[in-house]
């Protein structure tokens, strides 16, 4: 259970405070409601490149990192298809430094050409290191456009192509900033050994003077219902054959999400799961196999993926996965198997609330989805899942004509 207080500043910035006196630290999390889904299809990778630029100096402060390190703070950020999230942890006594730094870069960046030039190179090396210079590193660059044909989830957060990053200009940077990096398009969560009153005072001082901008109204093309199975066969210099199967499913805060989550757990979370026991242990087709969800805010993907053993064909492996999925759509799962995955989910939830920063982030994600209280409804939703609802969601999601399959084939 994550307790919180909330208020909204005059400029529209939504603020949440989670008080926890047991720690000497504070966590400050700012979520901007912009992700790679909001990008122009001709300028993909921009939200993430922009995240790098946020550390290159703001209007009144030439360096972001150094003043924070000086007061004993740490920070980082990440960009997803849905959001861009910035976070700081620092000793509570120095909380105001976080407000000073974050409010200045919300007010305006310094828009330095040299910073852009260098960060373009850094992001290209990130692209190389994570996606191109690794076996299977480019899987999501192949899989997203297969599974999504209309919705901007069809490109990866790093971008479709390195040229999009190379072509970014300072004008693009400015336009992006003043469209999305607005107090009325952000959520601030402050957690730790702080009081709501203290946070209010600091917000008034540092954030309230920042003017609101035009409200960003998201209108993205919806992904049409898939009606035919898709298959892509990709040949590459990798040591083993691998298979990836993606099925469209409800979004992270949809009512059916937890049901789909438990379904993926019982199929492929741990060593006692069905895919592992049947296909790895009994039939010995795979050297690893599992299932998980992309858990995006808009309808996401239910994933099954595995690496094949020598001598097993991709077609054989695919058929074997399909048989396991068919079983869960045809027959009700036994009650004790459901209790098992509920216990695992309950345990995971409890462990996810150990870290102060995780609590702050979870609260921000829920608030961004429209209702901060969603963060405290997870446990009840998990318990409400039944064998019938599992079967129903399996039938809805695991249809062959809802699947996109990638054969990642080893070059002989």
């Amino acid at each position: 259970m994550i307790q919180y207080n909330q208020f909204v500043l005059d400029n529209g910035l939504k603020v949440f405070v989670h008080e926890d006196a047991s720690t000497p630290m504070a966590a400050v999390n700012i979520l901007y409601n912009v992700g790679s889904r909001d990008e122009d299809p001709a300028r993909t990778g921009f939200a993430h490149l922009f995240e790098h630029l946020m550390f290159g100096g703001s209007k009144h402060i030439p360096s972001y990192d150094e003043p924070l390190q000086r007061v004993g703070g740490e920070n980082n950020a990440f960009t997803s298809p849905d959001i861009t999230n910035y976070y700081i942890t620092l000793p509570t006594a120095n909380l105001e430094t976080a407000f000073w730094l974050e409010s200045d870069r919300m007010l305006s960046l310094s828009f330095d050409q040299n910073v852009l030039d260098v960060q373009q190179k850094v992001v290209i090396e990130e692209f190389n290191q994570r996606y191109l210079n690794q076996p299977y590193g480019d899987v999501w660059l192949k899989l997203r456009p297969l599974a999504y044909q209309q919705h901007p989830y069809r490109w990866a957060t790093i971008g479709k192509d390195i040229s999009h990053i190379e072509n970014a200009t300072l004008d693009d940077v400015k336009a992006f900033f003043f469209k999305y990096y607005l107090p009325n398009n952000a959520i601030l969560v402050v957690a730790g050994n702080v009081t709501t009153e203290q946070v209010k005072q600091l917000c008034k001082k540092w954030f309230e003077p920042i003017p609101a901008g035009n409200e960003y109204i998201r209108s993205l093309p919806a992904e049409p219902r898939q009606t035919q199975a898709r298959l892509k066969d990709h040949l590459a210099d990798v040591p083993l054959n691998a298979i990836y199967k993606a099925y469209h499913m409800p979004g992270r805060f949809d009512t059916d999400f937890q049901t789909a989550d438990l379904l993926s757990d019982l199929l492929g979370r741990s060593k006692s799961s069905r895919l592992y026991q049947q296909l790895l242990k009994e039939q010995q087709l795979f050297s690893n196999i599992g299932s998980y969800l992309t858990a995006s805010v808009e309808p996401g993907l239910f994933m099954v993926q595995g690496n094949l053993n020598e001598g097993v064909t991709l077609e054989q492996a695919d058929a074997a996965i399909n048989a396991v999925l068919q079983e869960v759509t045809d027959q009700l799962v036994p009650e004790n198997e459901l209790i098992k995955v509920k216990n695992q989910a309950e345990s995971t939830l409890a462990f996810s609330e150990v870290e102060l920063l995780n609590r702050a982030m979870n609260l921000a994600f829920a608030a961004n989805a429209g209702d901060p209280d969603l963060v405290n409804q997870e446990a009840a939703k998990i318990q409400a899942v039944t064998p019938d609802s599992i079967q129903e969601i399996a039938r809805q999601i695991l249809r062959p004509d809802n699947s996109s399959t990638l054969y990642y084939r080893r070059r002989a």
Binding site: P24, G72, D117, Q129, V238, E346
Partner: protein, 428 residues
Amino acid sequence: MLLDRTQAPDYQLVNDARLVAVKTQKLDNGAPLYLIAFDQQPVMRVEVNFDAGSWFEPDDQAGAAFFAWKMLSEGTRSRTSAQISEAFDQYGAFLELNNGFDRGSLVVYCQPKHLHKVLPLLAELLTEAVYPEKEFDDLKTMTLQNLKVNFEKTSHVASVRFREKLFSRAHPYGRSQQPDSVARLTPADAQHFYERRIQLQPFRVLLAGQVGITEVALVNQYLGALPVGPPGTEAMPTPTITTDPTPELIEKAGSLQSSIRMGRTLFKRNHPDFHKVLVMNEVFGGYFGSRLMKNIREQKGYTYGISSNVGAFREAGQFMIGTDVKREFTQQTIDEIWKEIRLLQTEPVGDDELMTVKNYMAGEFVGSLNTPFEIADRYKLILLDGLPADFLSHYIARIRAVTASDVQQMAQTYLAEGSLIEVVVGSK
């Protein structure tokens, strides 16, 4: 009053870590129990830790410790592999089997309400493990497949080769899993390691999280009743460290990046220079604001990241610089690394920079002691390596005591020209 945004707010120095005390007691069989009680979320962790790392493997059986540990959950006299997985999963308990160079451990994360169901399983794995051929072969296949993928990564090859050159393949710290050694291993090798180093061997328990009298009593009931024989007395030869100083380039055609590793062997945590070297390392490559990051990422954009670190094992330590850089800039990066080293050796670090580094290290230290599990991990290091009890409580003061001339001297002493080995995988 107009807000002056150019002025940083006042700040306070962090000088204390609020450290939950560790309580020590003995279980009925004499095994030490270390308790870190932290009553917040309903979660806990039990770690049963043995002197059973790869250090204790026979030379020709690299990987025996790995298989002995990983197979603990693959069968007991009364349960199959599937039944064991099912049993842990049924209670939402997460099992980790770890084997390091020096030690190995069985770790379970669970909710306290399920502890009484989980402990009997732990006791069973520790006393009645069997090594069925089928499960052994499955794990072997998985391990070999993983190795195939990993050996395609320049970063993996570079790290493996770096340790080999640093310690030699004949030293436990220099050995890594290799396809040929893994392929040769038999279930009997793993079982033999288990019988020699785990079963009936002395252990210690670390209990962290929401743990009170009930949990301690349960741990004593199950783990305190395990038979413990005398410690293994077989003579382990003391391996010698042999460093191969020749720079090495492993060409990888078509690689977009080169993985660079440079470094040397170093001392253990009890060395008088330990904290001085930590500060020197931090300035040089230890954090995001370090000189290496500023130069090679933030000014030149050659890489997504570069860092240096100090690693300490029980019998030795190492210093390593690591980065993956755009292939064309491999030599420039190495040259820049040396330029930064020479700068550290010739010019004292400025007051401002040194202050930032120390404050950052103090804040990071306090911030890394936020959960019972982090605290337990810190205590584990000092308890098991036999470090003085004030190692943690005096950490910040010792960092603060390091001077600019100490930093310069450390760079001169430990980063002298010719003292660092170099491995590049990719191309130059």
